[in-house]
Each structure stands twice: as structure tokens, then as C-alpha cells.
């Protein structure tokens, strides 16, 4: 509609959208909200508001006044968080370094084990049962995983000290739970055991998306199994690897239950805090009603996890597929040229 001339008011109203448009817009919003509102209320009250409140708390003093970065300084400066002396004197290294050590050791091991098992079980009879057995560690409560590890690591009932005793290696035939230098590494290996099921299952699913004729074509061209893995399997699994790496880092940051389960009965976080982690430190502050410092640790944890998550999302959303100059053999390259369509569509996308 086009109203020309007239007074000021009609001219102004002509700038606004038509009533019918507004009405349609309102109706569409109402329709959408009627679906989204219950979820939105729950999320705002129990997730979004608490996140904002925790963030605020981390900048407040115990009296409620603004404290700037003071809390952050006191948490990051505490040897509980970051014990630089551990390089010379050994564990404990503090929660931040422990999470870092955990990630550094656990991530490559669990990736390797998962991929190794997935490839190994690819064409094996009864593989699904073996996979289910390996995956049991993923469905068991983490607190129980921590307890289960005691039956492996704790002397005299556990297997590992007994095994090393039998071998005659005295230095490792100790109570792995009660010993600061073995506790952390014992638990890290324990999480490798319990979480490999995840990377194995996801890698297995990824492997099934690679067309079988790629392998056959490469074999026809005379490629060795290792070359096939290096040049076909591994590059095509890259998006899957990215997902596993992200999820695993997120879990490593949120470690809590396993440490409690494995060290219940002794000092929280293990002897001398050898296996103390950020989430446990947060819980300890919460428990002694030091909410401000609890909020600081929680905020730091959130920052770390969001960085990891955003990297994943951006990679998956933009997902620039590199041109495949790396293709090893001519027939695979030809095959892929023909396949571009379906393969592009089959790529992994989390969000959209």
C-alpha cells in the first residue's frame, strides 16, 4: 500500500509494517513459542540464569562487593591449582596441571586404542559382541568405574600390585591407590580402559561410511595395508577424529566421579592431592561454602570447555573439504571424482 500526501501521522504509520504483516509475525512467534516455551523456561531458570550468576559470583568478594580479578588471582596462585614445584619435586602438580597431564596422556592413548580396535574388528566374526564388552565401561556410572579400578590398583586385593609382585618388580608392586606417584597414572590408564569404547564405536561407525571399493581399488593398485590406512582410512576419518577428540577433552576437563570413587576413604583427590582435578577443587570450595572461589574454578572450566566446543562447531559448520591431492592411487582418485556428491553429503555435521 502506498499512502501519499496527507498529514504527518499517516506518513509515519506508512513507515511501519502493515498490520497484517505484524499480525502474521506475531502469530508465527506465538506458534513457535508454544513449542519452545516449556524448554525455554527450564533452560532459563536452571541453566542460563545459574551460568550468569556463577560468572557474577566469580567477580564478587565474600561480602558481596565487587572484587575484580582478586578471586581469580587467589585461585590461580594457589599451589592447589598450579604447583610449579612439581617439576623438581614430583606430584602433586595441582588441579590445572593434573587435568592437562590427564589429557596429554589419555587422549592419544584412547584415540589409538579405539582406532586400533575399530580397524581390527572391522571384518571379524562376532565383532559386535566384543565391541559391546569393550563398551561396557561407557555405560557404567563413572563413580563405579572409580571403585572398579580399586580392584585392579589397590593392594592387597588388586591385580596390578599382585602382578608386579609376582614379576618381582618391587617398585611397582605397591598400593597404586595409596601411592602419589602411581595414583595419577593408574587412574589415567583406568580412564583409557573405560573410555576407549567410545572412540572405538564412533570410529567403527566412521569406517562404515568409507566405501569398500576405495580399499579394493587401492589394493588393485598394489598399495600396502599401511599405505591404505595412511592415505585412505585416516584422512577420511578426520571429521570423526575431530568429534572424538572434542568429546574426550570435554570429559577429561569434567573428571570428578572417577577420582572420588577411587580415592574415597583417603584424602579427597588422593594422597597429597596427587590426582586432584579442577572439578573436585570446585566441589571442595563449594563444600566449605567458599562460593566465590568455587565460581572461579567453575568459570575457568567453562571457558576451557567452550573453547574446545567452539573449535569443533566451527570446524563442522564450515568444514572446508581439502582437495584430495593426497590420493595415493589413480583408481581411487577416479572413484572419488565420481563420488563427490554422495560423499559430500555424508560428511559429519553436528549442528545443522
Amino acid at each position: 500500500m502506498n499512502r501519499r500526501g496527507g498529514g504527518l501521522l499517516p506518513r509515519l504509520t506508512s513507515l511501519l509494517p502493515e498490520p497484517a504483516t505484524i499480525q502474521r509475525w506475531l502469530r508465527s512467534q506465538a506458534k513457535f513459542l508454544s513449542f519452545f516455551l516449556p524448554a525455554a523456561i527450564l533452560l532459563v531458570v536452571l541453566v542460563i540464569y545459574p551460568i550468569a550468576a556463577t560468572l557474577t559470583l566469580s567477580f564478587l568478594g565474600p561480602d558481596g562487593g565487587f572484587a575484580g580479578l582478586q578471586n581469580y588471582g587467589s585461585v590461580l596462585g594457589s599451589p592447589d591449582t598450579f604447583n610449579s614445584a612439581c617439576l623438581q619435586q614430583g606430584l602433586p602438580c595441582g588441579t590445572l596441571l593434573n587435568n592437562l597431564i590427564w589429557t596429554g596422556i589419555h587422549l592419544p592413548l584412547t584415540l589409538f586404542m579405539g582406532l586400533f580396535l575399530a580397524v581390527l574388528l572391522q571384518n571379524v566374526r562376532g565383532a559386535s559382541i566384543v565391541k559391546s564388552l569393550v563398551f561396557l565401561g561407557m555405560v557404567t556410572p563413572l563413580i563405579v568405574i572409580g571403585v572398579v579400578l580399586r580392584f585392579i590398583l589397590e593392594a592387597p586385593i588388586g591385580l596390578v600390585p599382585g602382578f608386579f609382585d609376582w614379576l618381582g618388580i618391587r617398585s611397582l608392586a605397591v598400593n597404586w591407590i595409596a601411592n602419589p606417584s602411581t595414583l595419577l597414572f593408574g587412574l589415567i590408564l583406568g580412564t583409557v580402559w573405560s573410555w576407549t569404547g567410545f572412540s572405538m564405536v564412533v570410529y567403527s561407525a566412521g569406517l562404515t561410511t568409507i566405501p569398500k571399493d576405495y580399499f579394493e581399488a587401492a589394493r588393485v593398485d598394489g598399495a600396502s595395508e599401511w599405505q591404505i590406512f595412511r592415505k585412505i582410512t585416516w584422512p577420511l576419518l578426520r571429521p570423526v577424529t575431530l568429534v572424538i577428540v572434542t568429546m574426550t577433552i570435554l570429559w577429561e576437563l569434567k573428571l570428578f566421579d572417577i577420582v572420588i570413587g577411587a580415592t574415597a576413604g583417603s584424602q579427597q583427590g588422593g594422597v597429597g592431592g596427587a590426582a586432584d582435578v579442577l572439578a573436585l577443587q570446585m566441589y571442595r570450595y563449594f563444600f566449605i561454602i567458599d562460593y566465590n572461589r568455587a565460581a572461579v574454578v567453575a568459570t575457568l572450566l567453562t571457558i576451557f570447555t567452550l573453547i574446545v566446543a567452539v573449535v569443533l562447531f566451527r570446524r563442522l559448520l564450515t568444514a572446508p573439504r581439502r582437495k584430495k591431492r593426497r590420493r595415493l592411487t589413480p583408481s581411487v582418485r577416479r572413484m572419488e571424482a565420481r563420488r563427490v556428491g554422495p560423499e559430500e553429503a555424508g560428511g559429519s555435521e553436528v549442528v545443522t
Binding site: 524448554a39 559391546s132 556410572p141 563413580i143 563405579v144 580392584f151
Partner: protein, 265 residues
């Protein structure tokens, strides 16, 4: 070889079972000592009736939390997921992305304010606090999962119903939900296990020994000077039996949920 790996991977669970189903006198110096070997359920009964934290109550409370905390977010999340799947606009895509990003936020980030909120509502140590919190916490992933599923459904059926004059809600409940049963099953398995296996939220919100969940009971069996491995193993077996049984029965849905959640399958 494959079978060897599977069995080796089971070793820690075998160890726990060995201790749980045999008298402690036979296992206390290593559960791999196989003679003498007697099978007993005394340890399970002792853990079930343990006076400090009876697993009978712990398991009951875990069920009382996990069942509603699965059903509520399943419906609420599916409803919202349908909204995002069918009434898409650019702004709503941003809302959707930020909700999905909430999935990465660690539980610790909400603990203190939620605890304070529950104090204000007089809900601390009530199972309701956990039910509400888990319901909200499960929504982002369920919303994402269900939205992706709804978008894979052909819209023609819904459009036909709309032409026939059915309202949006009627279409959702009568046509879309019945078609979504496989996806809902995946949501149920996954969410139930997540709630059952949770320890942190329970630890923050349930501080009355009468209402401890089973995951809370397990570490409480160990004292500073006592290591009752028989009770501990029995409690571990009891607590893990529910998610493991669920996994074995509904494995198909579980794996689908996992794969759909990580790499869209």
C-alpha cells in the same frame, strides 16, 4: 585375537564380580586366588541392607529421579525440537545454536546458584530438585537430537494434515510423535542412563542420608580405616546393573543415540 581383547577388557569387571559373589575371606589377598571358591550372594544382601546407606533405598531413589527426569525432558525437548525443525527462521537458528552450545557447559558452572535456588524453594535434599535440574540439563541434547530427526521426516504428511484442518499441536501429538518412536527410544535410553549415572548433581543437591541415590552410596561405604571390599564390590555391581541391563536390552537404540548425537548418522 578379537575375543582375547574382549575378555581382557572385561578383566576389571570380572575382578569386581569375583569379590562381590565370594566371601571376602577368599578374595582379600587377591581375587584371582581361585581356591577355595564358593559362590554366595551374602555380600549383595549386606549391601542391600547396609545400615549406613542401604542400596535398597539408593536404587529406589535413583529410579524415582531417573524416570521423571527422562520423561519430562523427552517431551519438552521434542516439542522444542519440533518448533526449531518446522518453524525455522534466521534468528531462531541463532537461538538454536546457543542452546546447543549449552551442551558443552560443565555441570560445575551451575552448581552454586542452583543450590541457592533450591534452598530458597525448600527443595534441597528433595528428589524434586534433582528431577527439575536433570530435566533442564537434558534439554539441549534432546532438542538437538529430535530436531535433526524431525528434519529427516518428510513434511508432506504434516502438510496434508494441515490442509485437513488439524492444529499444529494435534499434528505434533497425533502424527509426528508416533512416527518418532525410534528416536524417542534412543532419547529415553540415553537420558535415563545419564541421570542414573550422574554423581555430581546428586552430591550437590541431596545432602540428607535418607535420600542418597545409589551412586552416592557407593563411595560412602569406604571409611578412613576400613576397606570393606565385599560391600564395595556388591554396591558397585548393584549400581551398575541397571544401566548395563538397559544397555544390553536396548543396545540398538543406545548406539543410535550415541552416533546420532556425535556424528549425524
Amino acid at each position: 585375537m578379537a575375543w582375547g581383547i574382549g575378555l581382557a577388557w572385561m578383566l576389571p569387571f570380572v575382578g569386581v564380580a569375583m569379590v562381590a559373589f565370594r566371601p571376602l575371606s577368599q578374595t582379600s589377598f587377591g581375587w584371582w586366588n581361585l581356591s577355595p571358591f564358593t559362590v554366595t550372594v551374602d555380600n549383595l544382601i549386606a549391601a542391600w541392607n547396609n545400615p549406613g546407606c542401604p542400596l535398597s533405598l539408593g536404587l529406589r531413589d535413583s529410579f524415582l529421579v531417573a524416570l521423571p527426569a527422562t520423561i519430562i525432558p523427552m517431551f519438552v525437548g521434542a516439542l522444542a525440537g519440533y518448533g526449531f525443525a518446522r518453524f525455522q527462521t534466521r534468528t531462531r537458528d541463532y537461538v538454536f545454536l546457543s542452546v546447543v552450545l549449552l551442551m558443552a557447559v560443565p555441570q560445575m558452572m551451575v552448581a552454586v546458584p542452583v543450590y541457592n535456588l533450591m534452598i530458597a524453594l525448600h527443595l534441597v535434599s528433595s528428589l524434586w530438585s534433582l528431577i527439575l535440574l536433570h530435566s533442564a540439563w537434558g534439554i539441549p541434547w534432546i532438542l538437538l537430537f529430535m530436531r535433526n530427526f524431525f528434519r529427516s521426516l518428510p513434511p508432506e504428511i504434516e502438510e496434508a494434515a494441515r490442509v485437513d484442518g488439524a492444529s499444529d499441536f494435534k499434528i505434533f501429538f497425533r502424527i509426528v510423535l508416533p512416527m518418532s518412536l525410534p528416536a524417542m527410544a534412543a532419547v529415553v535410553v540415553f537420558q535415563f542412563m545419564w541421570v542414573w549415572n550422574d554423581f555430581f548433581f546428586a552430591q550437590v543437591l541431596i545432602q540428607n542420608a535418607n535420600w542418597y541415590l545409589s551412586t552416592q552410596c557407593v563411595p560412602r561405604l569406604v571409611g578412613q580405616y576400613v576397606r570393606p571390599f565385599d560391600l564395595l564390590s556388591a554396591a558397585a555391581i548393584l549400581t551398575m546393573s541397571v544401566p548395563v541391563a538397559l544397555y544390553i536390552i536396548l543396545q540398538r537404540f543406545y548406539i543410535r543415540g550415541l552416533i546420532g548425537w556425535t556424528i549425524k548418522g
